[in-house]
């Protein structure tokens, strides 16, 4: 792949063995950078929403009794028994004009709304798909925080929320980092969800890479795009990985 990204596209697709750096220059095109940025926006949004939804869920699971905990974790895992594609397609059926949501609205006497093929439907699909990746690391991180720490905070006149915010949230940091990485990276490269739920309206970086390989037959540029994406992810990883150390030094 790395070698391919430095050579030229052949006349019928395929490869023409002349060396060139052009593919990487094309990465700096404002068009491509725009797509990178947009994908980042989606991925960041997905990670944030997953965090907001995932934390309360993970907290409840971690603080429930052992037998409950098992059942709750199984509930989180069950969707994985079904193919991701099938689950994503289920959202199409829910959001369709004659789908479940609009069926309810009709019963309530409301006008149908257009949900499918919008930014909203893409976000719901992404959050739904990756939420468990946020919840599971958070549960394991939260479990390791003894309940006594929280009780100590309460004894020092912290309200419940304050105890959560100042004690539990910072202590569960490894869970946050792991969860965010697990959500952010796949949602950055996602192409099935935007394809199915976005109606091909917008282009994410994953879709663009797929397009270069399978439509434009421009493998070298597709390879260069993949490496660009990988470089960005590695840089982010490095940055995230360094954070906890810095914090412990403070």
């Amino acid at each position: 792949m790395f070698v391919v990204s430095w050579i030229s596209r052949g006349p019928y697709g395929g490869l023409d063995w002349t060396w060139t750096g052009e593919n990487y220059v094309r990465l700096l095109d404002s068009l491509v950078l725009g797509i990178f940025l947009k994908s980042f926006g989606y991925a960041l949004g997905t990670t944030l929403v997953c965090g907001l939804l995932g934390f309360p869920l993970a907290y409840c699971i971690a603080r429930s009794s052992k037998s409950w905990q098992q059942w709750l974790l199984i509930l989180v895992m069950i969707p994985f028994w079904t193919n991701f594609l099938v689950r994503t397609y289920a959202w199409v059926l829910i959001f369709r004009a004659d789908g479940v949501v609009n069926g309810f609205l009709k019963i309530l006497g409301q006008d149908p709304i257009s949900l499918l093929f919008t930014d909203f439907s893409v976000c719901v699909g992404l959050v739904y798909g990756y939420l468990p990746f946020m919840v599971l690391p958070l549960v394991s991180a939260l479990e390791r925080i003894p309940i006594q720490v929280e009780e100590a905070a309460r004894d020092l006149f912290a309200t419940r929320l304050e105890a959560l915010w100042h004690v539990v949230v910072p202590l569960s940091r490894p869970g946050w980092v792991a969860g965010s990485v697990l959500v952010f990276i796949p949602s950055l490269g996602a192409f099935i969800t935007p394809y199915l739920l976005g109606g091909g309206q917008s282009l994410m970086i994953g879709t663009l890479i797929q397009q270069e390989f399978l439509v434009a037959r421009d493998w070298p540029f597709g390879a260069a795009l993949s490496f660009g994406l990988m470089a960005v992810i590695l840089m982010l990883w490095g940055w995230l990985g360094r954070k906890p150390e810095e914090q412990s030094m403070i």
Partner: protein, 358 residues
């Protein structure tokens, strides 16, 4: 039915791109043992949703062989697999322009006309096409057109021009194929150019026109438009004829129209790979698929027109006279074959990306 097929199709897409993005293609090519005691096996590589199982079983019985079917979802996928050395397939089904490319790249074996007598019955419109004028490498199999599928209950006037897809009255109820050459081809046709234009300025005009249309478009999709037409979510769809014909069975108000400016005509071809070790059996298979009776059975099930002209008379009249399956005679003169645009592909690709980021 269609939904399942679509899912399988998408899964293949995932697998393939996973393959390409990962390590280059893995070794998934069928295994050959070369053991003569086993019945011979024919490897058939075709489009998803393009096989009529009964006919395959029939061939297996007649020739005492095993046919292994594997599927792809785009011409580019087919080319990529064959080019990266995934040999082992015997019969493949490239579309017109791709058959030309594969022929020129030396990936296809020369066909022996003697072994494929059914070539005599080829539809007039499919004979001696520019991508392979002497039928050296490829024989048309199933064919059709691209046009507009619409719901006559909502769209009272038949869309006689591609401009109908720019009608603000149907904003948010229009779908376009998710295929850059087809979408640009449509716009180029609407502008009065060839859909094979290699001129950067013409392609740019088409792009500007498509950008103007985008706010009206509900979705760019090549797989879901028939279901969207059936559910009423979309009332005008830039569409392949076959799926529209299938949608008609579920919603009787659906119609198909080929606009005055003309559109794409395509044919998928049967061809034998140069690397096939079973060329004579492969050619028997091709001849079998083009047999009048077998081809009629296939067309009736898939709702795509057969390249064998005798098949028309065997089909029920509602299929034979359905413009989504067999384009009307008067429309034939307006149709244009899609050709490979080689270097200009970059303008299309860029225009498409610009359209999508809007």
């Amino acid at each position: 039915m269609n939904r399942n097929v679509f899912l399988i199709h998408m899964m293949r897409l995932c697998l393939l791109s996973g393959c390409l993005l990962g390590l280059g293609c893995s070794d998934a090519s069928p295994n050959r043992s070369g053991d003569s005691s086993e019945p011979a096996t024919l490897y058939y590589f075709t489009w998803s949703d393009y096989v009529e199982p009964a006919s395959i079983a029939q061939f297996e019985q007649i020739h005492h062989v095993r046919v292994v079917v594997d599927t792809f979802s785009s011409n580019e996928e087919l080319l990529a697999k064959v080019q990266t050395g995934m040999t082992g397939y015997d019969v493949v089904v490239p579309s017109d322009f791709m058959a030309g490319i594969m022929g020129r790249l030396g990936l296809l074996a020369e066909l022996d006309g003697q072994r494929i007598p059914n070539i005599r019955h080829l539809e007039d419109a499919l004979q001696h096409l520019p991508f392979d004028p002497e039928h050296r490498f490829a024989i048309p199999y199933l064919w059709g057109t691209v046009g507009i599928g619409y719901d006559a209950e909502v769209v009272s006037e038949a869309p006689r021009s591609w401009q109908a897809l720019w009608d603000p009255a149907f904003a948010g109820r229009i779908s376009m194929l998710n295929d850059q050459r087809e979408v640009f081809g449509l716009a180029l046709k609407a502008l009065g150019y060839s859909l094979n234009s290699q001129s950067e300025s013409e392609i740019r005009q088409a792009r500007d026109m498509l950008i103007k249309q985008k706010p009206l478009v509900k979705a760019y999709t090549s797989e879901q438009f028939d279901q969207l037409l059936v559910s009423g979510e979309v009332v005008l769809a830039h569409a392949w004829g076959g799926p529209v014909a299938r949608a008609m069975r579920e919603r009787s108000s659906i119609r198909y129209e080929i606009p005055q400016e003309g559109g794409t005509i395509w044919t998928d071809c049967l061809a034998v790979l140069a690397s096939s070790s079973n060329k004579s059996l492969a050619m028997d298979f091709i001849n079998f698929l083009l047999d009048e009776q077998v081809a009629a059975q296939i067309s009736e099930r898939l709702l795509f027109a057969s390249a064998n002209r005798q098949v028309r008379d065997r089909l029920p009249s509602d299929i034979r006279h359905n413009p989504a399956v067999y384009p009307p005679e008067e429309a034939m003169t307006r149709m244009e074959w899609m050709e490979d645009v080689s270097g200009a592909m970059r303008y299309y690709d860029r225009g498409w990306t610009e359209l999508k980021v809007q």
